[in-house]
């Protein structure tokens, strides 16, 4: 990637053939290149799944609309959810972890570079498998095609009896394969952080991004495995005549739900915790202060990691668990809101008394704070089992989780891209285009997802390809769809910015943001070996100490 071309007069230097560059990229084990591959892969799926969402929204613009058939609609929402969670969210966050963790801890690469590459290609295969279903899944009665069982694939809808053909199997296999990739990456992240830190970087001097990715990786190990196990059981049911979820043989549909959500809930924390990491790195730099309460931030994250393993059945409040179970999951769900709230307060405390610079990464961070506050509060509402008996399975939930996943994860990812793009490519993204992207996306996001809460309160269930007029849902759905198109325009501007700036952006230099963590001490982009010599650190902000030798952090920690 480093295109440091040296011109020597009178000497003809041949450009490297494109096939050699391609070969380098395909066979790379360099954490930086694998990080970029993950991120590009995820951005591709962001666009694909976004188009799926737009088609869904066109269908829902008017009651009794006929833009797509119910079969196609059901495939669309299944693919949209599955793609966004597994082939956009996970890869992009693994990509950033891969790129940044070694740099931030002063290492030359991840602990296991070849495992790293293997994990990436496994994840990539998963995405390919999921979309291959569009052509490959035709089974009996032409009943194939993309999976249409919802991204949670509840039993017994996924049994052979109700889902003939192979579409469900593509769902299962795609996630099984990419799940192994995720576990491989998680093992790699943990081993890297525990075993490859540069001298002086004790655990309580690591950047918060390293800490939070450590917690995230630990959660992946514990949370992805239940999904893997459940999917093996589903395959055994579908192909070996097993009865795990076969209600006719005494099996339990609720057991699938438990297994799925034991994965599914920690999974959403796996998605948000790296975004908390981005906030914790970016907000201090643009407030010109250190993160407020570093030890508390670590403790709160570890706390979230543990407590989030105990809340899963709040996704099952309508299933008919007894009142003690519902009460238990109410208290644990509300409890997990406490450390999350603490983090929001600490970011607020970081900004407080600072000198805030409203560069584009910071704009996305500020929006994140507002949005995650709201998302957390609607989460508290959904955590109250009795209130949730009305809210669950309705558009209120859809609004809530899009608030966390788009308003939280996507905004966090945008912030990270604007912040670290200069480091990765050596060029700055265009600020003007960035601001257009930001404001259009904020307007579209709020138009869509603020309003989306209301149809839920008015009784609109989710996963319906059309709805009855006259229930108060009509105008709202139209406006929600309009917001989706505004977001789409913003994303087009964003992609244009990425491409144009790659060729024409201002040169970034090592440290365009005047930041304090180790990745900014090396060139942009970094050389393959990351650092000329392994750094030694004495505080949480080694570059602050260098820039302010009269007032180093090491004096206060």
């Amino acid at each position: 990637m480093s295109s440091n071309a040296i011109t020597i007069p009178g000497v003809q230097i041949n450009e490297k053939p494109w096939v050699d560059t391609l070969h380098e990229w395909v066979t790379t084990v360099d954490h930086k290149r694998l990080g970029v591959l993950y991120i590009l892969y995820a951005l591709l799926f962001l666009v694909i799944a976004g188009v799926e969402a737009l088609i869904i929204r066109i269908q829902l613009m008017f009651p009794h609309n006929h833009f797509v058939s119910p079969e196609v609609f059901n495939r669309l929402f299944t693919m949209h959810g599955t793609t966004m969670v597994f082939f956009m969210g996970m890869p992009i966050l693994f990509g950033f972890a891969n790129y940044l963790v070694p740099l931030m801890i002063g290492a030359r690469d991840m602990a296991f570079p070849r495992l790293n590459a293997f994990s990436f290609w496994l994840s990539a295969l998963g995405g390919f498998l999921l979309y291959f279903s569009l052509v490959g899944a035709n089974g009996l009665y032409g009943a194939g095609n993309a999976p249409d069982v919802g991204w949670w694939a509840y039993a017994p809808l996924t049994a052979r009896a109700f889902s003939p053909g192979h579409s469900t199997d593509y769902w299962t296999l795609a996630l099984l394969v990419s799940g192994f990739g995720s576990i491989g990456t998680a093992i790699n992240i943990i081993a890297t952080i525990l075993c490859m830190r540069c001298p002086g970087m004790r655990l309580n001097r690591m950047p918060l991004l390293a800490w939070l990715n450590l917690v995230m990786a630990g959660m992946v190990l514990i949370a992805v495995s239940p999904l893997t196990a459940a999917q093996m059981m589903l395959l055994i049911d579908r192909y070996l005549g097993g009865h795990f979820f076969d209600t006719q043989a005494g099996g339990s549909a609720v057991l699938w739900m438990h297994f799925f959500w034991i994965f599914g809930h920690p999974e959403v924390y796996v998605l948000i915790i790296p975004c908390f990491a981005f906030m914790s790195e970016i907000i201090p730099v643009f407030s010109r202060k250190p993160i407020f309460g570093y030890p508390v931030m670590v403790a709160a994250t570890v706390c979230i990691g543990f407590v989030s393993m105990s809340v899963w059945a709040h996704h099952m409040f309508s299933v008919g668990m007894n009142s003690y179970a519902n009460s238990f999951f109410t208290i644990t769900t509300m409890a997990v809101g406490v450390p999350t709230g603490i983090k929001i307060f600490n970011w607020l405390g970081t900004m407080w008394g600072g000198r805030i610079q409203f560069k584009v990464p910071m704009l996305f961070c500020i929006a994140f704070l507002f949005q995650f506050l709201i998302a957390g509060l609607t989460g508290v509402m959904l955590g109250s089992a009795a209130f949730a008996s009305q809210l669950t399975l309705s558009y209120f939930v859809v609004a809530h989780f899009h608030y966390t996943l788009v308003g939280g994860v996507v905004f966090g990812v945008f912030a990270a891209i604007y912040y670290w793009y200069p480091k990765i490519t050596g060029r700055m993204l265009n600020e003007t285009l960035g601001k257009w992207h930001f404001w259009l996306f904020v307007i579209g996001f709020h138009l869509t997802f603020d309003l989306m809460h209301i149809p839920g309160l008015l009784g609109m269930p989710r996963r319906i390809y059309t709805y009855e007029p006259g229930r108060g849902w009509d105008t709202l759905n139209l406006l929600i769809s309009v917001g989706g198109f505004i977001q789409a325009i913003a994303v087009v501007i964003f992609v244009a910015n990425l491409v144009i700036s790659y060729f024409k952006g201002k040169k970034a230099g090592n440290d365009p943001w005047d930041a304090w963590t180790l990745e900014w001490s090396t060139s942009s982009p970094p050389p393959a070996y990351n650092f000329a010599s392994i750094p030694v650190v004495a505080s949480r902000r080694p570059l602050w100490d260098l820039k302010h030798p009269e007032d180093p952090d090491s004096r206060y920690e």
Partner: protein, 337 residues
């Protein structure tokens, strides 16, 4: 042409006037105790979360405005504050207290709704979810019907609630009539119970809330809350054997010699299929195909000829009848009051 329009408009208007006032699906317009308990709790939760929102939102806006960097700041860093134990304690303890309060308020409602004992005067209904219709049985009254539930209004002084047992014949479904109660799922091999005691008469609408397959969207619910007299009259009507109308004998022959009997039941006739809705009193229902179309002869004819025109993907097959048979069987259906 215009005569047809006027007639259509008038018959629709007459139809609308003749039917009960129809309620909406707003969770904040509860008409029954479970829904009311939840609505009151939600008001409380919204109030508390609203206060939290206002406080934190204000602080965020304030900090973004007050601490914005100014042009003359270049190079000067603000005081580097690392944290504060007292503040951390404050914003840990206060949220914990709020959580405890919200939990206790919620637990009360959970128990009040889920653990409510069934009084002796309660009506028992068994609801069985199918792809994509609702079967309702009143075991103690000997009534079997589909898609449109009739229950008596409940006087708070002398409650006559309806207790539903929820079962499923195939995939997972969910019974959701927002103004009467929170939703409860119908899961095969996992019977559930719920109750409602509507305190005003009228029609209450809802639909299936758990994705159950292709036509999940059109598995609509229509609950008619009747006065005690109207309810008794309805029950009596449903308990009658099927009307034997000699003029529809041809249609009945078509019905019984085609595959209709394999799926549908008509009381006191050889037809006793259980896969599809019971048709004994089909004409007592306002809609067909679980709310997907109004119960008119035209719609009935279209449904039998080509169900996919009304509900694509429903499990009713197109019956491949010729026009004569089709008209005859529709006439027969029209006699099943």
């Amino acid at each position: 042409m215009w005569q047809i329009v006027i007639v259509a408009f008038l018959s629709t208007a007459a139809f609308a006037a003749a039917s009960e006032p129809t309620n909406g699906t707003n969770i904040f317009a509860p008409a029954s105790t479970p829904a009311k308990l939840v609505a009151h709790l939600s008001g409380f939760v919204l109030a508390i979360t609203g206060i939290i929102f206002v406080v934190v939102f204000t602080l965020l806006v304030y900090s973004v405005i007050k601490f914005r960097g100014r042009a003359g700041d270049a190079g000067r860093e603000p005081p580097q504050v690392y944290g504060s134990t007292q503040i951390e304690l404050a914003w840990t303890i206060i949220p914990i207290l709020i959580v405890v309060v919200l939990f206790l308020a919620t637990a009360r409602v959970i128990h009040a709704v889920q653990d409510a004992p069934q009084p002796p005067g309660a009506l028992e209904v068994t609801a069985i979810g199918h792809q994509y219709w609702w079967e309702f049985r009143y075991p103690k009254l000997g009534v079997v019907t589909a898609n449109e539930l009739h229950i008596p209004v409940s006087d708070p002084a002398n409650p006559t609630p309806t207790f539903l047992t929820l079962l499923s014949a195939d995939t997972d479904h969910s019974f959701w009539v927002p103004e009467l109660a929170g939703k409860t799922d119908l899961i095969p091999n996992h019977p559930n119970r719920m109750w409602m005691d509507p305190q005003r008469t009228g029609i209450f609408l809802g639909q299936c809330a758990q994705y159950c397959g292709v036509q999940h969207a059109k598995m609509l619910l229509r609950v008619s809350v009747d006065s005690p007299e109207d309810f008794a009259a309805w029950v009596r009507g449903q308990q009658q054997p099927a009307v034997q109308d000699a003029s529809a004998a041809a249609g009945r022959r078509v019905f019984e010699s085609n595959a209709c009997m394999n799926c549908h039941a008509v009381g006191a006739t050889p037809a006793n299929g259980r896969f599809g809705p019971d048709l004994t009193h089909l004409m007592s229902r306002v809609t067909i195909a679980s709310g997907a179309a109004k119960n008119t002869p035209e719609n009935l004819r279209l449904w039998i000829q080509n169900p996919n025109a009304i509900k694509p993907g429903s499990l009713m097959p197109a019956m491949q009848l010729d026009d004569g048979d089709l008209d005859a069987v529709v006439s027969y259906m029209e006699t099943l009051r």
